[in-house]
Symmetry: C2
DNA sequence: GGTATATGTTCGTAGTGTCAACAAAGCGTC
DNA sequence: GACGCTTTGTTGACACTACGAACATATACC
């Protein structure tokens, strides 16, 4: 079983820092290529602040490791010797797994966030952990020849709608899957033979959105995702994910917005999730279920019926209350709304913005950006891949791969 | 004017990392001595994971820089050659400034958090920035001979009850001081000739408490401080302070706890600060004002009058609501209560604990620690010193000092 | 007093990035 | 098309850092 935590050879304070220098620089370089796309060596030199000799050596090492390759210079139109383009090797891939109530989505994502393949495997009922492992094993078995011939798998990332201890890949509680206190990363690692990590889906969506979507370049970000199963969240604070002591932080759907509200399954009353939710929208729309695109159509492309308008506005006002709290707590640069919250927002952006402004102290509300998530359906796959790439990016020359 | 931000010689991604290695190791070592107290070279070697030759060289360099010194080995009772004790030099000091409504407190704190001196300068009225600068200048002028003879000042740290942009040392709003959009670090730096930094007082208290108080060794911590002027907070997330994009994060007093509550000066309604506050306690106690020790006496040492008990319990219940939210958001290992919130808590610890347990999902509430702050009156002085020491600790061999 | 153990000290070595000099490759000008 | 200018890749000498082995030192234990 090859699972989780990269070994930390020495104790805390300091590393020997002579080979760690190289490790750090390789890591930085590969991360730049993976998150920033292909760049010339000259660009890398400037951005990293290293000498061009050093960049040359580092790129060579990454190429030797099979993690990067160079292509002929592009016509830049500038004077000077042309600089070759350096690419992260997109054939180095992560396998992603996203179990949901009615399907298991499996993805193959290369370095540079290249989505090679995605398979949605519909299930008759809500899948158990064992079924998930079996389905993933079967799908990958079918791809084995292709995988071995064309790709190099570095690990597996699992995005789970629930509370996950991302240190050991154990699910504490995933209400809509009915999973409780179950190891997930370990059995997958055993079955597949790849290092496997698992984390909360909203947190991974946050990572993806902050790297490749609306949150690019932002270091302090609050992400809120609305799905049929509730509201999840993720927070980027000072450039790193908020994890909490057990990895259960950023349960933003379970913060108080209405003291007179309904009781929530979490034990509290008047949580954001009980006040702002898809079911109430469906009720006024007179529908049983709805895809996100349909919801967009219904909320954006027509004059709304009065009762729909009222419910939309009510939910927006409550959402503003929650965002006001998050601004006090996190002072983020930007708030990103995904899932049905994105549709809700676009149904009346100005109402939400104005309400948030009212609820925030002075200039804070003025500078806050509110955006709809951009990545949509790719979000979770990209986020889960990021989880799987983590160890490789932290130590590109590390043993295992 | 020597103010704020340490120069960052190179760009972002990577540093050259060959001299930075030494910088990092010196920084780590000095930080270990400063936060962990005097230690033998052998202990430092083990904790840092470096070779003993290297530790020897680093300690010598710190000694040459005047930042550390060694004393004769203690009787350890162990076999082997005795290892000399290494101390951070407590004569290397930070000046701390803590302006408040009725006084300006000035402190002199050495490395190792040694409180050399503290002066409380009572003011007739709420001080302005200019008056604060004048008072501090005057007090330091009186100490100049002593300062120059015995100490080496590395900088000034200012703790301010309000919103501070800690990047440039500007106060956005300090309601109880009546300061608004005023630079504070810059004029102090000009007047004193020392590098000066300013930050929110509750945040600094969090730092102090996490290094030297109840939060020692904890990486995920929520600190709540109750004073006459409201409730401030600080959050340690993954070992580093939550700052937010402009440094205004962790305004935990301004989160919703009661939809039916009173309007708060921040623009919201039913904030924690409007529901849990000292004034309401004073009202039932029939007092106008009260020191913290007196409050402790009143709340802890007697059977409480029924109306006092009722108000205490109400405030505890509301506080639990807020803590429940913070647990969902931060998943902290521990919550630390300072100021009158500490007294409130100790008046009925079990009630708060039980209420929090009810409001948190499953095991989260079980493992959460709730503690009263330990540092009491020294808290802000130590915290502000930490702010001033920051640059030195980050780069002990750096030019300026 | 001798042995085992732990630690400080010294010096040669390996690894890392830098820097200067040179080579290569494009643009612009005449 | 030749020349200069600019930018960048390449190479090798160099400086800095930490490591490791060998030795010196200081304590406990027998």
């Amino acid at each position: 079983m090859t699972l989780t935590r990269a070994s930390r050879p020495l104790s805390a304070g300091v590393g020997n820092r002579n080979d760690q220098t190289r490790r750090h620089n390789l890591s930085t370089l590969l991360t730049m290529l993976h998150h920033g796309g292909a760049q010339t060596r000259a660009q890398l030199t400037r951005q990293a602040g290293l000498n061009r000799s050093t960049i040359g050596a580092l790129v060579t090492e990454l190429a030797d490791l099979g993690l990067a390759y160079e292509t002929d210079p592009q016509d830049s139109g500038l004077v000077g010797r042309p600089s070759p383009l350096v690419h992260a090797n997109e054939k180095v891939v992560a396998i992603t797994v996203n179990p949901d109530v009615d399907a298991i989505t499996i993805g193959l994502v290369g370095l540079g966030a290249v989505l090679h393949k995605r398979i949605r495997f519909e299930t008759a009922a809500v899948p158990t952990v064992r079924e998930t492992v079996n389905v993933v094993s079967a799908v990958l078995a079918g791809m084995r020849t292709e995988l071995e011939a064309q790709f190099r798998v570095v690990g597996v990332g699992v995005a789970i709608p629930g509370l996950v201890n991302s240190n050991d890949g154990t699910v504490l509680l995933a209400p809509h899957l009915g999973w409780r206190d179950e190891p997930v990363a370990a059995p997958l690692a055993d079955a597949l033979g790849f290092a496997t990590r698992a984390a909360n889906d909203a947190g991974l969506a946050t990572v993806a959105e902050s790297l490749y979507g609306s949150g690019r370049g932002v270091h302090d970000l609050v992400y809120l995702n609305g799905s049929a199963s509730g509201i999840g969240g993720g927070v980027l604070a000072g450039g790193s994910m908020l994890r909490g002591s057990q990895g259960f932080a950023a349960e933003l759907g379970h913060t108080l917005v209405n003291s007179r509200g309904e009781r929530c399954h979490c034990g509290k009353t008047g949580c954001l999730e009980t006040e702002v939710n898809l079911d109430r929208l469906l009720a006024v729309l007179g529908r049983d279920s709805l895809g996100l695109d349909e919801l967009d159509e219904l909320l954006l492309n027509e004059t709304l019926a009065p009762d729909v308008r009222a419910e939309v506005d009510r939910q927006l006002d409550v959402l503003a209350l929650a965002i006001g709290n998050f601004v006090s707590v996190f002072n983020p640069e930007s708030v990103v709304l995904g899932g049905f919250l994105g549709s809700l927002y676009e149904a009346n952006p100005e109402r939400l913005r104005a309400a948030v402004r009212e609820l925030t102290l002075g200039s804070l509300g003025e500078t806050l950006r509110i955006d709809r998530a951009q990545l949509r359906s790719r979000l979770l796959t990209i986020g889960a891949a990021e989880l799987a790439f983590g160890d490789l990016l932290a130590d590109p020359a590390g043993t295992a791969f």
